[in-house]
Amino acid sequence: MILSDLNPNFETPVLPVSAFNELIGDHLAALGEVIVEGEISQLQISQGRWLFLTLKDENASVSVFAPVFKITSLNSLAEGMKVQVYGTAGLYAKTGRFSLTAYRIVPAGEGALKQAYERLKTKLLAEGLFDPARKRPLPRLPERIGLITGQDARAYSDFIKIIGERLGGLEISFFPVSVQGKDSVSSIIEAFNYFNQLKNPPEVLVLTRGGGSLEDLLSFNDEAVARAVFSSKIPVISAIGHEEDVALTDFVADLRASTPSNAAELLVPTRQELLAKISHLEATLDSSLMAELKDQQSLVNHYGEKLAGILDLQQNRREELVKKLTRQIFGVEQKIQLKDRQQQLKVSQLTQQISQKLLLTNQKLTNLERLLGTLDYQKTLARGFSITRTKAGKIITHKDQVNPGTNLITTLAKGEINSISQ
């Protein structure tokens, strides 16, 4: 809106204050984005939400206003520091106060950059963002990698080339960011947010860019970027600049690599290294099993021998037992035989004794016979003697044995005489 729109006849209009302020505000807004360089002379934070500072040069000064959350470099700023303020000119309608509304303030010039770097480094160090204890180990063989760097950058091609020379079959998610310039910080933070919100995130993030001046590396010395690295759930390798450059993200990251190529080298081993390890593991496995089998074999042999020994021992004991029993049985047989023999001997002795007795008896009988022979009454009769008996056969040896008239029978050697006693 310009004055001629309000009044085509160029008559000076009468404006209420608010309309005037609004009008000026619109004019200022039409200027668009500006970058103003100067030295910070006063720096104030109100209610933790608003930043007020005065920017000046030798001849002039201007008020700068910004919401605190927008100024990621806030903690690296200090009074006396030369900065570039990115923002738009505006008029605060209520008071008509003119100010520059900033959305980005960066240190300007080598001295200011160094100063800002050191200020922030000291602060983050004190806060524990560089603490080695919180650094996570990187996955040993990551296959899913998130790459955060500039598109068409040397860092990108170096990293991709070196990692491809080392290992294949990897999945690299490349999030192109602005590595410098006004959108750089927000694009890097967006990349970290993107990877960290994935359901299946990469195993490691690589934040890298090639070398440059302190000004070129400004985003990697930015507090918000450093905090994004710090709060990433996914481990981060930071490889910023050349060997000698150390960005704040390098201190915060879980691992610092000196260059993009070095990041690739630290991230994955080479095929050759892995193949050598696998061959070694295979050989160890093979020899371990062989040793195990050998051990088991000797154990089996040992037990086999032990068992054989036990069996032998048992066999021997059995044989001993059989021998003992045999001996015992034999002994019993011998005893029986001995007894048999003894009995036989006794029987024969008895028989012999009986025979002898019989013989003796026979001899006695013969003698008696012979004696009897001598006593044969016939022979006596023959010599003239006679035997007188009663009829009853009773031999009469005394005269008183018979009464007169008793019939007597007298036996002679030959014949008998019957008589009657008187």
């Binding site: 063989l141 491809g164 020379e165 294949g168 079959g169 990897l170 490349f174 696998i278």
Partner: protein, 83 residues
């Protein structure tokens, strides 16, 4: 090769770690003979899988579109060939 437990393709890391564990168990005599043969077989399978896996030459590069867009595959081989 399939993993008996999950039926998913093992990663380089899981296969390598499992192989190292098996070898470690063998080296420290932690396996009895009954289990050592299946373990040995598993170790050889893992070694074979790893060797096959290492034959892969290409890396797949997905370009993430800014503003949380979908990923799309843009290029693969040209930067990643073996020396």
């Amino acid at each position: 090769m399939t993993n008996s437990k999950t039926d998913t393709k093992p990663t380089l890391n899981t296969a390598f770690t499992e192989l190292e564990q098996i070898v470690g168990q063998f080296e420290h005599d932690e396996i009895d003979l009954e289990h050592s043969l299946p373990k040995f077989k598993r170790g050889l399978e893992l070694a074979k899988f790893l060797k096959t896996r290492l034959n892969e030459l290409e890396n797949e590069i997905k370009l993430v579109k800014a503003q949380f867009g979908d990923e799309k595959i843009t290029s693969s081989l040209e930067d990643n060939e073996l020396e």
